[in-house]
Structure formats: C-alpha cells, structure tokens
Amino acid sequence: MLTTHSLSADAFAELASGAGDTAVVGQLRAAQLSKQLMLLHVVARAADRVDPPSRATAAFRAAYQLLAQARAADPGAVAQALCLPHVGSWAHDCLAALDSGAPPDFGYLAAVAAAAAVPLGIGFELDAPVRGGRMPLPGLGAIQVAASTDGWVRLSSDGERLRIGGHIDVPCATLVPDDGSADPAPHWRGTPLIRAVADGQAWEVLLEDADPYLDRFALRMLTGLTKAEVTHWRQRIQAAWELLVRHHEWAAGPIAAGVPVVVPLVPRSDHDSATSPAAFGAIATSQPPSPVIMAETLVHEFQHIKLCGVLDMLPLIKPSDERGYAPWRDDPRPLGGILQGVYAFTGIVRFWNVQRRVETEPDAILHASALYERWRLEVDPVAGALLSSDSLTATGARFVAAMREHGRRPEAEPVPAEAAQSAREVALDHRLTWQLMHVTCDAAEVARLAAAYQCGESLGAESLPAGRIEEDNRKVDSIPRSRLLAMRFQDPGRYQRLSAADVPELAPADALLVCGDAKAAVAAYRAALLDKPDPAAWIGLALALHRLPATPTRPVFAAHLPLLYEVHACMARGGSHADPLELAAWFQ
C-alpha cells in the first residue's frame, strides 16, 4: 500500500508566508523525486508497449536497469541525478508526447543513466543517442562524438574508463563538470560549475548552456558560453551569493538547497528571467545588470520554484477561464498566473525591505525603497482579489489568506516620502493603463449615462455599471511617460540628467507632469481632453490630480476611469466635448 507525500502544517504556513527553510525545501524536493519516479513509470510502461521494440526502447530498457543498479549502490546519488531539472523536463516532455500520440524521447534515459553510473564507478554497456555530434551526460557535461551528426553510439564502461563508439576512450574521472580549475579532457566539455562561497556557506550550481531539455523558456538558452562569459557569470553569481548570505539569509540557504541549475538566456534590451514547472530547480535568466539584481532574480524565481513544488503536491487553484489584473503584467492573466506572480512578489518585497537598509548610496536607497513600496502595495489587493474570485480550493484559500496576512504586518521603518510617492504613482499609472486597455463597459449603459449627463440629470444613488475584461480593447499611447515615471527610481541618475527636450515624444501635458508642475499638467490634460477623448490624457489627468491635495472628485478617477472615458468618448462622438473634471464631479 503506497502512502502519499504530505506537507507539514508548519511547512505549509512557512511557505504561505513566502519563506521556507532548507527543511521545507527538502520536503518539496522529496515530493519531486517521487514525481520523477512516477513519470518514469509512465514512460517505462509506454516503452513496454512498443512492439516490436525499437533501438530507442531497447536503450531505455538498458538504461532503466542501469539506473536500478546505480540506485541500489547509492540511492542518494541517483536521487540527486533524478531530481535534476534536465530529467524533470525530459519526463514532462515524454508525458506531453504520449498525450499527443507522439513517441517520447526514450533514448535520453540512456544519457541520464550513464551520467549516474559514471561517477559511481559502475560498469555498463548501452546505446545512447547523439544529437548534433554531442552525447550529453546530464549534470556532468557532454562528449563531442563527431561533427554535427545525429544517431546512436555504443557506450561501454568498466567503471574506470568510458569508451564511446570505436574511437573515443576517456577516463571516467575526467567526466566532471567544469569548475574552472582544470583543463578540459579531450572530447569532453564539462558543464560550467559555479562554486559560490560566502562566510563559509557554499552554493554549487551548474550553468547549463547545452542540454536541449533546459532550452525550454520563452527566450532561448545562451549556448556554448565562452571561457570569458563563464568567468563573468561566476563573478556575478558569487557577488550575488555574498549579498544573499550576508543580508538575506532566509533566502540563501533554501536557494542553495533547491536550485542546482542556472540557465543563461540570450540577452535582450531588458533583463529577463523565468522558471518552468517542468524543470523544478532551474532558474533561467539573462545576465542581470548588477549583483543586486542577480540576487533579486534568484529570490524572485525561487519563489516560483517553491510554489511549483507546492502546486505539484496540493491543488490550490480550481479550473477557471477567468482572467484578472496582475500589477506586473500589461495583459489580463489567468488566476494561476496571478497566484504565481503575487507569491513571487512576497519574496521580492522581503528582499527590497532588507536591501533598502543595506544600501548606502542615495540613488540605491531610493531604488530599493521604491521597489519595496511598489510591490508591498500590491500583495494585499491581489491576494484579496484571488480570495474573492472563487478560484481557490479550500487549501488554496488558506494559503493565500496566510500570504495576505503576512503581507499586512506593519513595517516599523517608513519609506522615504519621495520613494513612496514615486512607487504609488507608478502603481496607479499601471493599474489605470491596464484598465483603459482591457476594461470595457456596456455600450447601452454608457449611452444612457451620457444622455443623463447632457440633460443635467443627477446620478443620485445609482450604482455605476461594472466593467468587463476585453483584452486589448483600446490602445493607450503612454509608454514614454510611464517609462519616465518609473525611471525616477529605476535609474535616478539618468532621470536627473534628462530634460523634457530629450524625450520629444512626450505630449506637452506629460512634460509638465514629469517636470513636477501638477497644477499646470491638470490644466493641460483638461484642455487636451476638451479637444478629443484620449485614454493616455485621461490617465495623465488622474496622475496629476493625485499629486495635488485630495478632492472629492479624485477617487472617481481611480475607481471608474474606463467608464469616465467611455461616457466622455460617447458624447464626443455626438459632437459634445464635455469638461473632464465636471464629468468626473458628476460621477462622485
């Protein structure tokens, strides 16, 4: 009788708060090992059903037996091999292939088994696949078998030496990851291994730049890193590790326990990072611009890894097609994605809350403080929206409620006013922009309200119609303004060097807002909207009003901007250009 994995109540509470120590990560990893074995069982059953057996299924069978032998000799080592994200990713893709009626890549298990047997000195003979002239040993490296060919090679090992086909013979002891301390053996390229050490605490992580099963992210893997590139990654990860160990201990130990692989991504203009539920333990990232951002990226992506581990164990989300607002994305997101995002930000908030006290330079303090405030503000409303969506299971509701409760704990040290104001404004800008892009209102209701306004009728106690999400319903042309508002804390030095003339695409009202003249900006946006109903000008007007002392009208902008815009636009289509502030006052 099989039992199932369980998560202790304490571990659940720790994870829900955004944390989770190495013991908790150990519980997640233990479940991942069983998950891999379960998926291996699925693939093995599929291999059994292939009749007559193919070379690939024969290789799979031999590999399975070799893994069984290796596991009997050293269960811990084989558990580590099976828990590599390479293997998880392969097993996942096998399941996907089986579900779509395609043959799975049975042969890859030969590479996995050989990689497990070689370090243990276990002799074996089996066929293994060659792709592009390379035969991978996942977690160790790859043997260059021939130039750019696909096919099979016979592997034969006596535990001391590995023979590949008829022409390559290498000592097993040289088939190790490349930690930079030795010249590579002929035919061998070890996967770059980074040993980051700080204050006696170590993190060993592979920089996987070759295995096809980890080239699975929205951005491509940066393959075949040069020695200089590997050195740069080593330095960046070492510096980030020092920061984590010295100031973010809550994250450092668990990351070392739960992240065996970093996948470098091809860089774009912006920094990108990702995880995949298929590849538990792998963080994919382009090279971050600084050690601080590298550390934040590790914290951020490790949150996703932990939540993926929890979701593998416990259903937190119910089936739903519902989409909603995610403050970190420009598009409406499925609720599962929103849960992933808000959970990541519980870690990011904690990171910046510490980092704002660690930094010593004024610009860095502003940056850290504003990012702390920016994301701290979002955890509560996003968690609240999830809790009221009916999208969570009972366990999911417990998880999110605990996460929300933790986020509500008061912070003793206030955020500097400039950072707080910038963060709140950027948050408002994002929310209103998203609403004008994706929220629409019932056309008949809009027309009725427009007519009522034009007839001078009072709105009275009438409740206003709720909007509905309609993706990309409108185009909002406000990117230059939004980027400048965020640049105040993202890159304060650059922002201070800029003048409005440096950003010619800014509208005159935007320039007034960015330059800090909110009163003049209100007048300019008002004039612009009297001329034509422009979504970007409506958002600008709302932002400018939020810089001035509070008025009874102001909350209307935050609560009903899509409706305001549509009623205003409806009247404009009929030739009547209403004053935006008077219209907002009518709605209050």
Binding site: L2, T3, H5, L7, M38, A96, K318, L335, G336
Partner: protein, 56 residues
Amino acid sequence: MSQQKQELNSVIPDLRELSLERLAELGDSVLAHSIALYRQRLKETGMPLNSFTARI
C-alpha cells in the same frame, strides 16, 4: 490536533523507498489515479503540457 495543525496530504505517491525493479512491476492501475490528477492539474492551472514555459 486542530485542522490547522494537521499535515496536508498531497496527490503524489511516496515512491522514494521503492526500488526501480519494484516500480516497474507496478501495474498501470496503482499509479493511474495520481498520474491522472497530475495531468489534470497541469491543465487546470492554465499550463498546458505542450507549452510549459509560462512564468507569471
């Protein structure tokens, strides 16, 4: 013990102590429920098996 203090049982069978030979001998039915739940979960959370790269 209150409900809050109880362990949460997952849908993943604990196979850690099972040898691979024994795992191979398990029929389809023993793990079928857990595997079906796993497949279902992936689909329910908006992560279809064939495009499994989404972040947030």
